[in-house]
Symmetry: C2
Amino acid sequence: MKLWQTIDGLEDDLKQVERYLEELAQAPEEWASLSAVLSSSAVQRGKRLRPALVLLTGRLGPDYPACRDRLCRAAAMVELAHAASLIHDDIVDDSPLRRGRPTVQSRFGKDMAVYAGDFLLSRLFLFLMEQDMGRCGLLLARCMSDMCCGEIRQYQAQFNTEATEEAYFESLLGKTASLFAVSCELGALESGCGPKDMESLREFGRNLGVLFQLRDDLLDFTSSQQAEGKPVHSDFKQGLYTLPVLHGFQDPDVGPLLKEAARQVQRDGSDALCARMEELVARSGGIAYAVSVMEQYERQARCLLETLPPNPILKRMDSMIHKLVPGACRKPV
Amino acid sequence: MKLWQTIDGLEDDLKQVERYLEELAQAPEEWASLSAVLSSSAVQRGKRLRPALVLLTGRLGPDYPACRDRLCRAAAMVELAHAASLIHDDIVDDSPLRRGRPTVQSRFGKDMAVYAGDFLLSRLFLFLMEQDMGRCGLLLARCMSDMCCGEIRQYQAQFNTEATEEAYFESLLGKTASLFAVSCELGALESGCGPKDMESLREFGRNLGVLFQLRDDLLDFTSSQQAEGKPVHSDFKQGLYTLPVLHGFQDPDVGPLLKEAARQVQRDGSDALCARMEELVARSGGIAYAVSVMEQYERQARCLLETLPPNPILKRMDSMIHKLVPGACRKPV
């Protein structure tokens, strides 16, 4: 049973979010190819994790349920920002698969992917202006700027075997955690939570986002292509050195070998060379290290929930953490 | 002497626009490559035609000069929207040159161009939210949605020898004329013009935008690469069939030959084949036809200015029309 099926009315709210999304991402009828792009993209096939966060946190403030429709609109905007960024990121990643399906740019070409992302951004921007959701817009705008900067940071660090953990986290906070954070913040804002709770929820979202990305990065090592719906070892091949690899680079024994292997993968991304990298990372204890870092974020996220006034919703939010913790790392969320 | 040097204080306002642009398009210092991208992009090298329209029309309403700083901010936003769209359009066009310089994607690759455009969009979005310029934002958001749709329309019509003039104008109105229209509308809005004048100015901008694009399309035929700062006949090679070509396609004698030539250019975009297309277009009277259409838009733009209360600024706006009329088609604006 899905998380939201256990909460009264949450599924209805998510359906309302879907209706907004459909309205927002609708291409004019005569544009068959854009419609095809959009219906094959993340906007149609997401797990709706971020909208769920908006809706859940939106039940914590005193203005719920009066704010219910505003929450649905905010949730749709968050998902749209996510979908647009995925389309553009896939251009850069040159990834053939996303969620088990061909990416927009692999099916329709980079050009159409540029436009499809821009189309979603322009729809989001227009929707926000029409709704007159000023403060929500400001938070979302800051987040989108952070997301873009995080992506650029990651892009600039590609194939850099001297990249630091600090730079990795800086990129991660922008590209992934900021949207989780703002999702929680928007729920808190619209439902009228006080500043302290809003800050706690924002921090909770940020921690959850970090956990999500660390888990996603780890899946590139530990899962099969079939389970994850995207190619494994794609991070190695793209020179995206995630936490376990960065840890391996620092290891006095394994580090030089791993860097050499990474450079070989850069020249020739064969499966054999990737397997060599994976073996070296494991030897350095990189995966165990990443798991221990995840446990820290897990604890922090739980602590933040404990600072909030008691509410049955918090148990559901706790179960979102649970789904992302290391023990769950072999199963897709 | 440039247009704005003849108007009291306009150059100062444009300098203020530049300051806003610089602030907005500033990448963090450590991002050398993004900074390089941005400083080589349109945001640094535009003719500032659209900001000039905001500033000129912004002198027509009763709230000038109190609105002066808001005008500069609106002008910077318009130019930023323009610069972001150019960066993404160049990806799709695969154009090597823009304003005589290598395009972002030709120097830094498509990936960086995707991010640079997104970065500017996110900065624009954030600036707008921070400024709390709600109505201006709504108009700009609508325009950006129209621009994106116009670009997609053009993209979808590529290499379609059955494309209609109507579809061509629909695309043109979105991709180019809408930003000219909104530039004039924002000036009118911020300076407190009444709804009738605002509508006239918006229409003036739209007509000027059409004129601008028709002229730009014509330059692809009639100018040299050196004069225009971008390759000639690039529209032929990209299958962007502009008004003179569409007219030629309709010619009972020349049409079939021109379509055949266009298909040959699609397979092999040699200069000889492009010259053959150009010759056929000329034989059909396509260029003369485009010039006659431009003259219609010129007249309409002038008529719209005549509906406005007398103001010395209108003479300057008239001279903007003059710079775009067919007689000026062999010189860059």
